[in-house]
Symmetry: D2
Subunit: 451 residues, 4 copies
Amino acid sequence: MSTQIPIAVRNRVSERAKKTLDVVARFVEEDCIPADTVYEAQIGVGDARWEAHPQILEDLKAKAKSLGLWNMFLPKGHYKESPGFTNLEYGLMAEWLGKSRVASEAVNCSAPDTGNMEVLAKYGNEEQKAKWLKPLMDGKIRSAFLMTEPQVASSDARNIEMKITKDGDHYVLNGQKWWSSGAGDPRCKVYIVMGKSDPNNKDPYRQQSVIIVPSDTKGITIERMLSVYGYDDAPHGHGHITFYNVRVPAANLVLGEGRGFEIIQGRLGPGRIHHAMRTIGAAERALEWMLMRINDPKKTPFGKQLREHGVILEWVAKSRIDIDAARLVVLNAAIKMDEQGPKAALTEIAQAKVLVPQTALTVIDRAVQSFGGAGVSQDTPLANMWAQIRTLRLADGPDEVHLQQMGRNENKRGKAVTDKINAQKAKAEELRKKYGAKRTEIGSNIKHSKL
Amino acid sequence: MSTQIPIAVRNRVSERAKKTLDVVARFVEEDCIPADTVYEAQIGVGDARWEAHPQILEDLKAKAKSLGLWNMFLPKGHYKESPGFTNLEYGLMAEWLGKSRVASEAVNCSAPDTGNMEVLAKYGNEEQKAKWLKPLMDGKIRSAFLMTEPQVASSDARNIEMKITKDGDHYVLNGQKWWSSGAGDPRCKVYIVMGKSDPNNKDPYRQQSVIIVPSDTKGITIERMLSVYGYDDAPHGHGHITFYNVRVPAANLVLGEGRGFEIIQGRLGPGRIHHAMRTIGAAERALEWMLMRINDPKKTPFGKQLREHGVILEWVAKSRIDIDAARLVVLNAAIKMDEQGPKAALTEIAQAKVLVPQTALTVIDRAVQSFGGAGVSQDTPLANMWAQIRTLRLADGPDEVHLQQMGRNENKRGKAVTDKINAQKAKAEELRKKYGAKRTEIGSNIKHSKL
Amino acid sequence: MSTQIPIAVRNRVSERAKKTLDVVARFVEEDCIPADTVYEAQIGVGDARWEAHPQILEDLKAKAKSLGLWNMFLPKGHYKESPGFTNLEYGLMAEWLGKSRVASEAVNCSAPDTGNMEVLAKYGNEEQKAKWLKPLMDGKIRSAFLMTEPQVASSDARNIEMKITKDGDHYVLNGQKWWSSGAGDPRCKVYIVMGKSDPNNKDPYRQQSVIIVPSDTKGITIERMLSVYGYDDAPHGHGHITFYNVRVPAANLVLGEGRGFEIIQGRLGPGRIHHAMRTIGAAERALEWMLMRINDPKKTPFGKQLREHGVILEWVAKSRIDIDAARLVVLNAAIKMDEQGPKAALTEIAQAKVLVPQTALTVIDRAVQSFGGAGVSQDTPLANMWAQIRTLRLADGPDEVHLQQMGRNENKRGKAVTDKINAQKAKAEELRKKYGAKRTEIGSNIKHSKL
Amino acid sequence: MSTQIPIAVRNRVSERAKKTLDVVARFVEEDCIPADTVYEAQIGVGDARWEAHPQILEDLKAKAKSLGLWNMFLPKGHYKESPGFTNLEYGLMAEWLGKSRVASEAVNCSAPDTGNMEVLAKYGNEEQKAKWLKPLMDGKIRSAFLMTEPQVASSDARNIEMKITKDGDHYVLNGQKWWSSGAGDPRCKVYIVMGKSDPNNKDPYRQQSVIIVPSDTKGITIERMLSVYGYDDAPHGHGHITFYNVRVPAANLVLGEGRGFEIIQGRLGPGRIHHAMRTIGAAERALEWMLMRINDPKKTPFGKQLREHGVILEWVAKSRIDIDAARLVVLNAAIKMDEQGPKAALTEIAQAKVLVPQTALTVIDRAVQSFGGAGVSQDTPLANMWAQIRTLRLADGPDEVHLQQMGRNENKRGKAVTDKINAQKAKAEELRKKYGAKRTEIGSNIKHSKL
Ligand SMILES: Cc1cc2nc3c(=O)[nH]c(=O)nc-3n(C[C@H](O)[C@H](O)[C@H](O)COP(=O)(O)OP(=O)(O)OC[C@H]3O[C@@H](n4cnc5c(N)ncnc54)[C@H](O)[C@@H]3O)c2cc1C
Ligand SMILES: Cc1cc2nc3c(=O)[nH]c(=O)nc-3n(C[C@H](O)[C@H](O)[C@H](O)COP(=O)(O)OP(=O)(O)OC[C@H]3O[C@@H](n4cnc5c(N)ncnc54)[C@H](O)[C@@H]3O)c2cc1C
Ligand SMILES: Cc1cc2nc3c(=O)[nH]c(=O)nc-3n(C[C@H](O)[C@H](O)[C@H](O)COP(=O)(O)OP(=O)(O)OC[C@H]3O[C@@H](n4cnc5c(N)ncnc54)[C@H](O)[C@@H]3O)c2cc1C
Ligand SMILES: Cc1cc2nc3c(=O)[nH]c(=O)nc-3n(C[C@H](O)[C@H](O)[C@H](O)COP(=O)(O)OP(=O)(O)OC[C@H]3O[C@@H](n4cnc5c(N)ncnc54)[C@H](O)[C@@H]3O)c2cc1C
């Protein structure tokens, strides 16, 4: 909460945001976390899981609204609908949301809706906004974002193959999508779909379009849901969906034909910050559970509580360091985005994207280990957390893709630093002359080599 | 298979074992692996999963027997029931078994039955053998091993609290157990239970007894099953079981009161080798799946197949090195056990126990990553493998316990090496005198310190 | 330089500090780095190395003064002698100083003088200041800090044994010290010595005193200098020094008998930030050298420049991420120290202390590797950098000590988080009742367990 | 020594080798290690270091010969000059040699002479053998191997540029070499030089020749020696050498023009095993020093000896595991080489080449850390060991080159495993049909998707 904001960024957080942050923190700790297992229980078992919408979540949403916690993700300045927080400020809140399974949805800040709302708010026309943005902002419906396809390497979005063909005043979609997160939820009413309207365009970044598809359009089938390390993530879930001659009005196209890349690029920055800060929150919660375990007076392997084992204390310390470092990286990226926009902050965002999940996975895995058998089971939130966060090393672009990209970026300095170092060497040569200083290389007087 | 046996150990593998190994390898690749997903399908959904016993497994067992593959785990020399393989030889077979979910059971070599059969064969009396060992060896029933308890740190077995109270010619058991693997299976007919018959004995290693408890004894309740990262492992599963005044004949006691520790110690060696070699097999299979993915011509992120990305090739190479090293460690331990018995091989076994799961987890995680989204889902065996093997860093003693133990063991040399190094220093001093060699310490002529 | 200040902290850096930072950066890149190898050449060979004081350094000092770069380390507000920069602002400058061997001394900001000057400024009386602080601040003399002793584990300062005995109006010192950095320099005129004046005091933190000892006092002998991975660090160096009945006036005692701990505690905060930021600078320089190498058109193993090898690009990217994260951690600690004092910032400082050297060592080691053989030799600054920074995992307290300390600190939350989690569980139980939600545990309906 | 041979390979070690191994072990521990610091003292300081040949080494050589320890490296079977040990057997001895600086030379088994002797024994004609092999085998002279050049990426040997031009019955050499190890020694009388005799040959592996060059040939200049992390490795050292119109008789060519690659390939296998086993020995010695330190009763930070700190015990245990695993990898490679020749063992050798130095560096670095300040200084053998072994990640081919190579090799299985997995999937499909087992994909019955 507000007293724990890293000092380096504290002076950028408004009093109003601090107050809201405290409300968020309390709401999460006192209402949402206790609700998590209730929610899970209410979802039920078997096929019913995919039709569930537990009442407890609607009650939490009502409470959240009454507390003034709603849509905080929509950044100030950019959108009139925004409650007026910066990315930094919302980032700090997202950390708390990340501790609970239900919290993000309870305050209408959950993915992929957040990203989809941003797309509609930024690129949608008035009609699209009225029809889809409004109910999303009101938490009446949910949405999915359909880009990834099973038959191609989707980390390179140029590979996407879904066909979007103009037919009179309609577009017709054919193809398949998977990892459509949220598609399981019965309240998921709309898909934001990326596909190719102009597959032969010479510019590989102009072949794509993004189009709004109501989830109940004829020709759409949810073939199955994908599991994540044994978890189904119901009712939200991750759909494998086929499109067979799916017709939507041409008016559903966002921004214009060939502008798909532009749209998904714009979508990514803030979402990565949200995910990263939620992940930080999860790591913090894992650390708290670990602290609970290592102080459990009933758990004394080899005559000592776990907190007395040096190895375990080192895990605690390293976790603390790594989480704190990772948080600063995300917040720095959020500030950059606030001040200079997502484009200028690309590198900072990518750093957070890569660093945070790896950090959190290590922390959570230590917590799992400290719990013994209990750690991998349903009795702690840890195993599930780990599985969720493991996917963040893949989703929104695998680590390797970001690292190559960042490597290339950094390497752009290659020529400049080479020139600088060469100039420094030349200057040193000059100075050596000036001072009459002879380079004393060892062995340069070796006698037996003088013939 | 036999041509791939590391050259260092090949000369210890009999021709008969090599032939059997080849039969195992073929059986696993051609019969068991294809059966895995069928088995999973036959188990079904919901509560039914715990009553399932898919026909395909019985068919595989029949085939295995006809191929002469049965109970290979029971080491040669020690048991008359043994088919006559060394731990080394069976270890090599276990590697192949570890590639498939159903293979170990198909050849009646699956945990915890193997360990339980060893207990009965080694410590059971004739009656106990006839009643329980026989049907286990025949694959007619299954069994569970109940040591771990939720309310104490069970990695230190002295903490176990289950009460075993003599009452006439019966023992009465009260307490709870969890992580009772295999208890979910409807064919699980017998529990090998560890508890305290003499909790006040001064010797903390003499308080425990091991007793045979039929699973259908009154007073036993399976409260629930524990999940492993979202997987239920049905029908096998991991039970949380309560004992309320559970009465069993005194004749069910194994070996005698107060000998529980002795028994569980004897149980552990071979089982750890089996687990380790199965884990090596799993890692090999993960690597194969990864090789498939990185050579998939349809998957070309950024214009190249994955095999052309240097980073990915490095993963392949490192995986190869690490698996091969880990395998040698296990096989070396197996040989030591064969030649000098499990007690002499304690350190070697512990090394394998700690090294192998960590190695395999890294290899599997790389494979997951190479698959992108598919890696965490049900579409590859990888996510499930990872979860299973993650538990091996906890089960049978957490890493930390083994490391502390090994550290202490190694440190026993402390005094001897100190003496040796001191002797070497003294000798050097002598030699310096003899040769008139002055130690030339830098700075020892510093002028400004000579006042 | 100023344009590269992480955005998160930029708004706390005054315009004046930004300007000074740019001057520092330029001075380092254009004057100091080229001077480094000249300085090394001028030191010479053999015993002469310990009597050297190259002219080039005095010339740099003159230039630095003329540029207004002098004593920037002395934090604003606390000392009247300070040029008026915050720890944050000086930290940013220290990053640049850390790129060059001679830069810190050239601007009179080099260890251990900085720490010693702080001790004298903070705890010294007027006479002590006039005699020792003044010439140190003027760059006329140098100093050493003598705490560590060879015969005890000095990471725990309570073990220190140097005897400080009152004898009339003098103190007499007996004992030995090592790792007395800077003692090699002929200009090192004064030692700040920690020892025990009251070894039997019950409070182990009140046994020590700190006393000022002129380096030319009778009874002091520099026995030899210690090397660091083959480097002698001459003329600065690390002395092994014996004290035999060394008499100093009682007036040389700092602050009072028994206050040694208090003094060395106060000494540590800022110095750790300086070291950390210098280390960040070194890591940045290593990365630049690496970029030079991987873009060298003459170096094309296997037909490609190194920058085209995916593995190498990943090194670049990871280095970028890790350096940036580490820098934020240090700067956050500096800000905390600025705003709340070193005591409040203990944890943040310790985090920086542990994280930064490990990060830098990894980055530098990658750079070494990218250079092939050249990397370990005298032809790059890398091998020497690595050796220097490796010692930072030991000096000023080994990593392990800090980690244990931080672990214990963090663990103080143990009870509070346990209470919170238990309250959350209780609340969940309540909610389950309220919503009539039954916990659905898998396997709880297992039929074959219902007898 | 012989009782510590890993059990897996013990049965391949002849009684004679075991006895010799025990003699080696004793010779190293009792004679060589004490001699190490004496030798260092006798080398002296400054330029004299390059002219030194301490008497103690000649005395050790005499003693070694009298013990029957001489040229054990030359593998049995291949060379008539061999004392008759296998690579495995010598490998075990090399482990002991690696503990001492002088031991390898004392038994005439030190690099680069060993490799050079193998080249001459394998490819040299009788005259060449008489002239160069004989005195080398007798320990009368020493040699260097000159391949690497400063101006090109020499890890790819095709880049080598040294010109070898035929001129009548002479060859004339022009170019420069560096990292010519051993060139510093006054007894280094001969260079084995690789260069290009046919730079325009279409086959890039036929352009090179290897030629024998007496070190006192006119036109050769040792420009300077290269340092390794501050160590000069005198008198051996690593030379930077220029060749200006260096004429040698045509008879000095080895094997024939264009056969340079063939020769250096043949040279590499055994040498890598030697280096690897020596490195294992160094790691063992580091561990022993660490054990000494953590049992030092005078060193009790925070009230406990280091051996009582859990973290430190874990270091000990991990070091034990990692060394033992690495040793098995090397010995397995040695056996493969013994049984099937170096070519068949390429992968195994490369595994050892990459794995062992990394393992040893980690172990040594832990030992350094456990010593506190002393660890980085001249007071333990650790810092120097670390520096030596760090170079093994570069020399004889950098890690990255071997990893890429191994990755490509392993990937050759790509198609085969893909076919196998596909066949398994097809078989599974068949079985599913046969058993009427429907794949139960979660979510495939989602109601709200059925329109
Ligand atoms: C839980 C979860 C939720 C998701 N939610 C959504 C969603 O809502 N909507 C949606 O459209 N998608 C979603 N995704 C999909 C996700 O964005 C993709 O999985 C991801 O972009 C990777 O694409 P891919 O799976 O096709 O893998 P591929 O593109 O085939 O990549 C596979 C692997 O190849 C390697 N690789 C790729 N490029 C390089 C390179 N240049 N260098 C080195 N290695 C490389 C990486 O290791 C990578 O992991 C989700 C995924 C998961 C797991
Ligand atoms: C999938 C699975 C299957 C299993 N099957 C069975 C079975 O069939 N039968 C059965 O009886 N049990 C079984 N177990 C239980 C398993 O053996 C125990 O979980 C294990 O022994 C650890 O005990 P614990 O869970 O009580 O953890 P604890 O003993 O509470 O230990 C918790 C953690 O404390 C730390 N720790 C402990 N000691 C030390 C130390 N000395 N130094 C530093 N850190 C330390 C470790 O990190 C450890 O993980 C199974 C477990 C799993 C996960
Ligand atoms: C280059 C360099 C410059 C230095 N400059 C100075 C100087 O100017 N003035 C000065 O006084 N000193 C200086 N030092 C000394 C330095 O501060 C000490 O080396 C350091 O404090 C460690 O003390 P020690 O060497 O006595 O190691 P010890 O205290 O013996 O510690 C040895 C090792 O024990 C382990 N250890 C210790 N405590 C614990 C624990 N609680 N848990 C687990 N493991 C533990 C750590 O691994 C530690 O490295 C310098 C050192 C170096 C290397
Ligand atoms: C102590 C020591 C002793 C030596 N002794 C001898 C000797 O006696 N005789 C002799 O001839 N040589 C000797 N060498 C030289 C040694 O063999 C070379 O340094 C080594 O082969 C690397 O060549 P290079 O230095 O030219 O580096 P380069 O070939 O320029 O390689 C530099 C770096 O590029 C990277 N790289 C290269 N290829 C790839 C790739 N395919 N993918 C990814 N990254 C890659 C690696 O990180 C590598 O370290 C010695 C070296 C040392 C350090």
